[in-house]
Symmetry: C2
């Protein structure tokens, strides 16, 4: 047993492999999807896994995750947050390895399709997800829970929508994340009352004949409000 007093002396420490795995969510026309990756090499060749990497000695865990994300999707500066650390001794069948999982929310229209294809990654609907290797399935479940919780109080769902979006689109997103139907009148009222959507006087006609007004999210205003301790909740 490593004696408590000895942290930061290193003598009693043994090194461990440290990895990060990314749970990459996308929202495609009413459906929540996950970017997973088909393993091309042994072990577990042909099986599905999250996209991950070892953390190298000259980068933080966050940097490692950002590197991975860029490598696969070409995207930078996107929403990504630490989920939790997976460290069961039995989680892996090789050497001892812990993984700090991160979940990312991307706009599904914006990633680099060539890169994704090149790496053998595919989008799967979250509710039709096949088995993933090791504890990656748990990671996805935990990430879904987190998304559900966090999106109630923080506008992170916005990161999954195109920069310009309609209110029905936003509603559908919340319905999918929370697996719950919402009343369109009350939803609209609540969302608009927050005064965080900027109307654009443009319509999106892709999903109806009448067309729905486009909005964009007022990041600046939200940031100011957040600093003042502002807090909202979409449902009770």
């Amino acid at each position: 047993m490593t004696a408590t007093q000895d942290t930061h002396t290193y003598e009693n420490g043994e090194k461990i492999y440290v990895a990060t795995d990314c749970i990459i969510f996308g929202f495609d026309d009413g459906i929540l999807k996950l970017l997973v990756f088909e393993r091309r090499v042994k072990p577990k060749q042909g099986e599905l896994s999250l996209i991950g990497s070892f953390v190298s000695p000259n980068e933080s865990v966050t940097e490692a995750a950002q590197r991975v994300l860029k490598e696969i999707t070409g995207l930078e500066n996107i929403f990504m947050e630490e989920l939790k650390c997976y460290s069961d001794t039995s989680r892996d069948d090789g050497a001892r390895c812990i993984s700090i999982a991160q979940y990312a929310l991307i706009r599904i229209g914006e990633y680099d399709k060539e890169l994704v294809k090149k790496h053998g990654a595919h989008w799967f609907e979250v509710d039709k997800l096949p088995k993933l290797v090791y504890d990656h399935g748990d990671m996805v479940q935990d990430a879904l829970e987190r998304l559900k919780l966090k999106s109630r109080f923080y506008p992170i769902g916005i990161e999954l929508l195109p920069k310009q979006f309609t209110i029905p689109q936003l509603q559908k997103l919340y319905e999918v994340i929370h697996q719950k139907e919402l009343d369109p009148r009350n939803f609209r009222k609540k969302v608009l009352s927050l005064k965080l959507l900027i109307p654009l006087d443009k319509k999106d006609k892709s999903s109806s004949k009448k067309g729905a007004y486009l909005y964009k999210f007022d990041y600046k205003k939200y940031k100011k409000l957040e600093e003042k301790g502002f807090n909202f909740s979409i449902f009770k």
Copy 2:
């Protein structure tokens, strides 16, 4: 750069020291306290740090934290939750080391005083906290934020109170955590309306002449409600 496809092949992985640090909160008669530890050995001898340990190859991070907590306080089966991973390359001045911080909430009357003394640990009031080594100060700030957030929606504050407690005690706890005065009538009404406190027909006279009724928290009932997706919030 570690290629993404190679996770779980280990060839490209380099090992890193993995530690865990515990942010141990206690609530002592209206004051929120933190258990910190005076370093007896070099480096940083005499400075204050959180209690931590390296994670050994045959234990999970959680197990390591539980081991540390037991070693220092004698306590087992207490509330502890992962906070986050601290992994900046510059966070330490020795070898590369990441730390997965965990915060724990203990009943300050129940720990083993001999053990704590033996290890050179002391309680400090959180708002009079001296400088801690490395990024431990950040960890404490982050833990306080988390405690604030989580205690609004989950009854984790209970873990800081004696098993039998009064409503004024509970209120004081919330006031300290949220740094906000609460109306005693409304607080009482809200708390009792949840029907999660079992009245004990006993009074605690330690803080008033009249004495205040003692209650205990109905863990079983809460667990059932939680499974059904029940959700409360102490404030708006």
